[in-house]
Amino acid sequence: MTHWIIAPILIPALAGLLLLLEVRERQQLRRVTGLLSCVALIPVALVLWQQAAQGDVGVYQLGNWQAPFGIVLVLDQLSAMMLLLTAVLALPALLYGCAGDDRRGPNFHSLFQFQLMGINGAFLTGDLFNLFVFFEVLLIASYGLALHGRGTERVKAGLHYVVLNLAGSALFLIALGLIYGTTGTLNMADFAVKAQALEGSDQILLTVAVLLLWVVFGLKAALFPLYFWLPAAYANATAPVAALFAIMTKVGIYAILRMQALAFSDGPLAGLGADLLWWLALVTLALAAIGALAAQRLGGLVAYLVVMSVGTLVAALSLGDPKVVGPALYYLIHSTLICAALFLLCDLLRRSRGDSDDRLESGPPLAHGNWLGAAFFAAAVAVVGLPPLSGFVGKVALLQAVPSAPYWVLLLLAGLAGLVGLSRAGSTLFWRVHGDVVSKKLGRRRVIPMLALLLASPLLTVAAEPLLQLCGGVAEQLADQTIYIRAVLGGAS
């Protein structure tokens, strides 16, 4: 049973390699391989969640090397929850891709699997350098995916994205070097223990390293002033890729949350950089609201909504209060799934509008305007946080947990800005029409994955109470890191 922990990394890795070997012309075979891997990830993630929910922290020692010396994979409730979220997101995104978008480049399916491998690995690893490696795996795959398909805009946005992330990787390495130089370890649990005992100049160096880590994770999470790459990269990516990217910013947030809970909840380094994160997140929230109002394209608008969710989450999490973490996790699940649904919906609209693309201007009437309009309305209500859908539940829970005036004002104003932006987009897209229908069939294979993701919102609303309790349980486990540290450093599993 202990070997289950590595399955979320091995399944996509094997599928990705198999896909590289398969004949390029046999598209159906590649689709089946990719889908099988994604389908398999869901039960595996469920099994892992079952294991983690019992309260123990599972440790998998690679090559059976003892913990501070070898690399470990660690499964606690937070990792298990993120794995489950990734698996639930990946299947509809890949199904949508199988409707035709995967034909636009030869290696879509294998890149998709390697991206999943990187994301799952980043959620599971208990070693800082290994975290760097998995970040690189998911980034390298994402470079390929971001450039999937053609278009000058895509290449331009892709170039910026790659260069920025390479610079980010360099900073990550410097931070890791400093951490190793001062504490002599890269294992997260061991680091958490040793960081408490540092004094003098070593402690100053470690402070620098940790602030560098916040910069790197802030870049991944798209936090001000490091979010400018995101709107262009996400809005120009192919729809299934953009949907999968909805979890990428959350990897950065996960890394911040993990490091904060593990090493900076108490001791001399407690709350290091938290004030900085708080204010930067609030600025992110405000600027994302302005960006959402100013967006010229629906894709850009959705990308700014992603940034908005990042600001909301990081501001809440920077408080370091265990009571906030539960609602924040609920909101994280909600925003990931709904933003992904919006990216897919945006692509459906783009397809029905011919040359008008997703620009927010008067265009041809839509062939299935009523259905698409209803889906857009539901998604908008959910993402902005109006009752009765999940965004409302998430935001109310967050507001209850964060008693801070600037947060309340900014979150509500940002919600209003999102609402205005989406209303403007909806009325332009669906009502300001002229000319004839550019008849294009929607295709059931595209609509069903989009609806499946959208359905997450009512489901999250109906199951809000138990889910919030689950998230609270995850937060409780996260607040008590002695279990984690003992599980990792306590010797053989």
Binding site: V155, V162, A170, G177, Y180
Partner: protein, 111 residues
Amino acid sequence: MELLVALIIGVLVATGVYLCLRARTFSVVLGLTLLGYGVNVFLFSMGGLKINQVAVVGASADPTDPLTQALVLTAIVIGFAMTAFLVVLALRSQGEQHSDHVDGQDGEQRS
């Protein structure tokens, strides 16, 4: 020795950052490469600087740290692959936009 290594890292990183801030893709590629070199040397020196010592415990009285060597090896491999990818991307960018400016066009052209 420490001063020399520190100076080398400083010069490498400074030139790398300078080149990264240029607006042409070629200098950006070169800049990122230099930045990568600087970071690799930095990572390497984090295990402590020792001359003429092997990285095997027991084979010498004062062995050098093997872990940083492994880390640097990983970082070199990843950095090398990324440079190759970036070169191809820069070429494609130039092919599609008919300019090697990182924004696809010069400031003068745009205005």
